[in-house]
């Protein structure tokens, strides 16, 4: 393979001026993590609400929840990104659209909202599965004790469901970090975008991508280990520890 390796390239100044290539990658990592974590807040919030709706006794609410999940699950993430970024401002009233377009860091906010809603549909699916995996008797017992439906969820079903759901939630959290790379298409300068920029300016393709790869691997290992500790802390006594699911 006749490729000229040049590892010290990371210490050279990037075209941005004041920063080295290495620093631009670190900033990119910062954007990746910030985007992923803010999107995670939206995803977990909306995902839990929709997931709970889908287990309600009311048929109408279940339908609304199902429609929500199908909508976000059956459109590719990249297309959703474009819808939020290019299409939404045009469909809003003119003044709102202009405000959105002129927002500084518009691609960042768009990426957060888009990733948040996209992932919320997947979390809703996990929440529903988590609640449905509980024995029917738990809901009945809650009701029989005179708890209202919200109380049954708050004190009986959800505390158990969330503890059971932790492994699939871990893979969703890793997914949201990985999926944030899609936001490079709308101009968010996250890790993959920075590696791509470095490759374009320095022509050191493989060094740039190797660095990005190692950073992603590192993030992955940290997240998996932190979650493993959390899983051990909140494990439901008496249940077989669930294996991390294969889904993404």
């Amino acid at each position: 393979m006749n490729y000229n390796w040049n590892w010290p390239i990371f210490l050279e100044l990037s075209p941005e001026g004041a920063t080295t290539y290495w620093q631009t990658l670190i900033y990119g990592t910062g954007w990746t993590l910030t985007t992923a974590m803010l999107a995670w807040v939206i995803a977990l919030g909306f995902g839990s609400v929709v997931g709970v709706l889908r287990t309600m006794p009311n048929r109408g609410l279940v339908l609304v929840g199902d429609a929500y999940v199908e909508l976000f699950r059956n459109i590719p993430l990249l297309v959703q990104m474009f819808l939020w970024y290019f299409v939404l401002p045009e469909l809003l009233p003119r003044s709102w659209g202009l405000w959105l377009k002129q927002l500084p860091n518009a691609s960042f906010y768009t990426a957060v909202v888009c990733l948040g809603f996209y992932t919320s549909a997947r979390i809703a699916e996990q929440v529903r599965a988590g609640i449905n995996s509980l024995p029917r008797g738990q809901r009945m017992a809650g009701q029989a004790l005179g708890l209202t439906l919200p109380q049954t969820y708050r004190y009986v079903l959800l505390p158990m469901a969330f503890r059971i759901m932790l492994p699939p939630l871990t893979s969703e959290f890793i997914n949201i970090i990985k999926n944030s790379a899609v936001a490079l298409t709308i101009g968010l300068l996250e890790l993959t975008a920075r590696a791509r920029a470095m490759q374009e300016f320095s022509f050191q393709v493989f060094e740039a991508f190797t660095a990005a790869t190692l950073i992603y691997l590192f993030i992955n290992i940290v997240v998996v280990n932190l979650m493993r500790i959390l899983e051990r802390r909140v494990a439901v006594p008496g249940l077989i520890a669930l294996q991390p699911s294969a889904g993404r």
């Binding site: 059956n74 819808l83 990985k178 490079l184 991508f209």
Partner: protein, 230 residues
Amino acid sequence: MFANFDFDVISRSLRYLFVEGMTFTLTLTALATLGGVVFGTALALMRLSSFRLLSVPAASYVNFMRSLPLVLVIFWFYFLVPYIGQWITGASRPTQVGPFWSSLVTFMLFEAAYFCEIMRAGIQSIARGQVQAAYALGLNYRQAMTYIVLPQAFRNMLPVLLTQTIILFQDTSLVYVLSITDFLGAASKVAQRDGRLVEMYLFAAAVYFVICLAASLLVRRLNSRVAILR
């Protein structure tokens, strides 16, 4: 809101969108699924092997691929495949491979990691007694796998494999980052040429939605029909 919505731009570009774009997307999906399942099954068999020289590399490969964003992997292979081609053919310069082959290799190798996990679960869902019975009947490893275990594993996992194919179909839209004319790429080119982003992206979203929803409803029906009664 839809006052100056231009439906004409969609009907004008239908041929281009479907004949060029969708054909690329579907071909890539089909071939990548085929290659991914074959390679993924091989990986799964390696991962389940008691021979550490096989199981450790397979497990590392799968975990490695699964911790990277697809976009990054697409970039990797876009630049790497010419060098691999050079290495295989022994040419003096990196070989020119078209965007199609580069993305096909990417998706096969990337999705194989996910298909491997599905097949591994499928193989593990077969009762151990069946393998032992196969060996007791005098079948060797290859025969036990091809005649007893894998057919059942495929059958058990068919709905999951198909769901993963739907995900793959959606993921192929990411070849957009290489400016390839897949379905979304075609829509995006028309959108930018005619300044009709709203129409084209909404149309693309609708097409993806209809295809994926229909496919997942079919998978659900299939699921209830192929399930092995126990």
